[in-house]
Subunit: 544 residues, 2 copies
């Protein structure tokens, strides 16, 4: 283990004061309802709709120790910093309120639950993973519990171990699965309570009812902002390049927004804004060319532009085009698949869109196909797509200044970093909340913490019914109940802060370098200021 | 400014105890000689060859304050973390030993010196840059002082300001320039002393006579290792991908070696070894395919492979091919430039080499040409070159296992990070040493510090004659005096440590995650262990 790991694993996360002792009470709050499609959700989830909010308060009366519990836990979906601390918080709280409980970690995601592949998580097993990045203590996976046989397999494993509780650590899809499982287990008469924990660096698992920030967002955006800050200084020192930086986050632009606010990059594209304004690719190329020209006119042939991974799909005309290609044109295609041949067969409006895609990217689109034969939109290097378009615009305008682009993509670099102090404490707290909920027979709940813009000691532990996050959406042509993704709020403070500074950050070199995540001295006075800063997104939203 | 920047700029670098007070003595040590081509270097540098080593010691006798000096400074070449601290160390020491001295920062590299474009560096001007990354206080540039008119311009600026000293902060090329300038200024009868400061994240500016580590290597490798460590944990959590990570450092593999030692990545390619073993591309593809197959046979369809940026040029046959293409075939090419047409015109041996390059890369090679029409070798995405070759080998072998590669390139992300405590102190000390040398009329010297594996207080300040680093090399067909680049020593401890662990790190998942650079509590007991760790390369070399 590195010196850093040795030091870090001994650090104690800060537990909200409500969760400190073994004495607590579970308060029942107001009844909840689904965020949309109430009748349909209530019909599909008769046992878990309209559950009340719960909150955990300290109690002056001694709580009786619960009998030992049997608990299972899985990681589901992409990694996020802090996952190991959820396991540790869950384990420690279980031993505190239900001594001699057993915790089983199912391996490599939902597959481990369905195939009964597990390891027992003991104090000794967990010790090296405390405050450490990654999900590798038990691994993660993207398998879904979808078919009836999958539900049978999950139920069989739960029943065979006599699980009192199953904790699912995941994003919106995984918690949708948790909700389905909770309902299914009640119907089967299983005693296993299902409790979800909100995980995703993307921050699109969010609810005004009580999920202020899924875990991982804080640490991942800090890693990306560290790198972007470094690139901003490099850019300003060399004065030669425009850096185009694509950031992970396919369905929402929260990560890009936070990184823009942290670093004051010259251009920060927000997918949700492009969608609202119904930008075409061409308009976006023109806008970027304007930005680059504005700086060039001031003698600045350099800059930094942040791009959300999912940008291309936010451009409405692209979505129409991709849908047509995937559903109409490509399935029945005969003969050689060239860009010219495709263009000839497209309806006029879509042909225009197709031809507005830079030629290199156009050919690549047709070549790179996913296993279903669909255009692999996620494979498109959005930063190269944009630059190719910008170069065409600049050429058409006869621009004579120097424009040297460089490309970056940051994603995998931030998902398994050692969690920031914020995420360390958040995750440890979430694991503790999950233990309290599950041990008290609460099922169909999400463990959460409120007031996250305050210091960790003041965070409020709650239980949020999973059904209150759900609505009905079309997937592969059928209506299905899913947790609603939360996109960047264009009326929210974080986005408004960007808009208020956009002009200034474009023209001036007002770069900020947030530096690497600092963890060592969170307990010293100086340390707290540097180590314990939450995201700007969270602080701005707390101003509401 | 970010919270981190506000905190960091107030941190005091640790100055070697020899440089603490205003009382010091300059000891004259043994006479030096050029590292090679002694007679020719002595002929070209009659005034600055055979200068003695110098070292700075504290003195019990009070040193008299020197009269105010006029000093100029430039950054030359690529950015490296800590540059701003060289300026600060230089300024502070000047004010201590020659109060009321003036420091001029020439802007954007050597061009600023030649065009007399400068800013005066005052305490107030420098304050926001203390311990901060980047070179943007005055900017850097890659212009060379090469033609007689360039030397005239540099001399004119120096003379017009009455500079007592010019400090050139740069890598091997820039310090070659410093050496030429020192000799030139003596010949002209100018009083301006020229002192170099060894900067490069690549660590190829190294000398057993006294340059143990150029500044920037420590911080940059720590940033890259942070990211690689994160990717190792991601790889181990998801168990899906092979990550191929190209690292900056075109001419030497020091960065890749250090990152390999820090993270225990499964495969760590060292260019110097490939050169020594005279590997062909095909042999390299086979070797990598073996590594991937070894892991696949153990059920591990994932891994991490580190690749030095300059790898392709270390493969001897490639160099022959590129030379032939650039110097013989391409300059007189007529007709369409296709890979097939080129293959047909190559001599048999080179055709074989050309055809061993994966087809996609082959076409890209012919398309991407630099402004002189040469193959843009530095544009080749080495990681894709290798993977394309590996995929051909695996296909030819009929391998049926899953192999999903992902690509990364880390370079710009690390050059302008806030310097580690090591680089903060190293740079501040180097600036101080340069001030002492220049103020005492020493010219043609490199400021350096020895014993860098010890704590900063014990570092030994020295002056190293620039000529002792020089030899004669062929550049564009002519012999020229240049500072000899120092490649990875295949008999050295750092490389031997890699070799001793190579088999283990390939097969096991022995990943280490060094974490983000920690800076906040270097003064606390815990903090020192985490913040003040030098590179493994340096610690291993100190064992000699």
């Amino acid at each position: 283990m590195s010196q850093f790991e040795l030091y870090r694993r001994q650090t104690k996360p800060i537990l909200p004061s409500c969760l400190h002792g073994a004495n607590y009470q579970l308060h029942t709050g107001e009844k909840t309802a689904p965020i949309a499609d109430e009748a349909e959700i209530a019909r599909l989830f008769p046992k878990t709709t309209y559950l009340p909010l719960l909150d955990i308060q300290p109690s002056s009366e001694a709580s009786q120790s619960l009998p030992p519990k049997k608990v299972g836990v899985i990681f589901s979906g992409g990694q996020a910093p802090g996952g190991h601390n959820v396991l540790c918080g869950l384990y420690d709280k279980l031993q505190q309120i239900a001594p001699k409980s057993t915790l089983l970690g199912f391996k490599n995601g939902p597959k481990g639950l369905m195939t009964n592949d597990y390891v027992e998580l003991t104090a000794e097993f967990l010790a090296p993973f405390r405050n450490m990045g990654g999900f590798h203590a038990i691994g993660s996976g993207r398998d879904k519990i979808a078919k009836p046989a999958d539900f049978d397999a999950a139920a069989k494993t739960s029943e065979s171990h006599g699980l009192d509780m199953l904790c699912i650590i995941g994003g919106d899809d995984s918690n949708t699965n948790a909700c389905l499982l909770a309902e299914d287990f009640i119907k089967r008469g299983l005693k296993t309570c299902v409790v979800g924990v909100p995980k995703t660096i993307d921050r699109d698992l969010f609810s005004t009812k009580g999920i202020e920030c899924s875990f991982g967002f804080d640490s991942a955006t800090k890693v990306y902002s560290e790198l972007i800050g470094n690139i901003c200084f490099d850019c300003l020192s060399a004065k030669k390049y425009w850096h185009f930086i694509r950031l992970m986050g396919r369905s929402a632009s929260h990560i890009t927004l936070e990184c823009g606010l942290q670093t004051h990059a010259n251009v920060c594209l927000i997918g949700e804004e492009i969608l609202e304004k119904k930008y075409t690719s061409k308009q976006l190329f023109e806008y970027l060319a304007d930005c680059i020209t504005t700086r060039a006119n001031a003698g600045k042939h350099y800059g930094v532009c942040l791009i959300p991974e999912g940008l291309i799909e936010f451009i409405p005309e692209n979505n129409e085009l991709f849908n047509h290609l995937n559903n109409k044109l490509l399935p029945t295609w005969e003969g050689e698949l060239t860009a010219d041949a495709v263009a000839a067969k497209l309806p006029d409006a879509l042909r225009k869109t197709f031809l507005s895609i830079p030629p290199g990217i156009r050919s690549q689109l047709l070549l790179d196909r996913d296993p279903h034969g669909n255009i692999a939109i996620s494979q498109i290097e959005t930063e190269k797509f944009l630059v190719a378009g910008v170069q065409e615009v600049l050429k058409a305008r006869g621009a004579s200044f120097k424009f040297s682009p460089l490309y970056h993509f940051f994603g995998y670099e931030g998902r398994c970093t050692a969690p920031s102090d914020f995420d360390s404490s958040l995750c440890y707290g979430l694991g503790s909340v999950a233990a309290v909920l599950g041990c008290n027979g609460k099922t169909g709940y999400m463990a959460s913490l409120r007031h996250l813009a305050k210091p960790p000691a003041e965070w409020q532990p709650i239980g949020l019914p999973l059904t209150c996050l759900m609505n009905v959406e079309m997937r592969h042509g059928s209506p299905v109940p899913v947790i609603m993704k939360q996109m960047t709020d264009l009326k929210g403070n974080p986005f408004r802060l960007l808009v208020a500074n956009r002009e200034k950050w474009l023209k001036e070199d007002d770069y900020q370098s947030p530096g690497p995540i600092q963890l060592v001295s969170a307990n010293s006075a100086d340390g707290v200021a540097v180590c314990a800063r939450p995201t700007i997104t969270l602080l701005e939203e707390a101003k509401k």
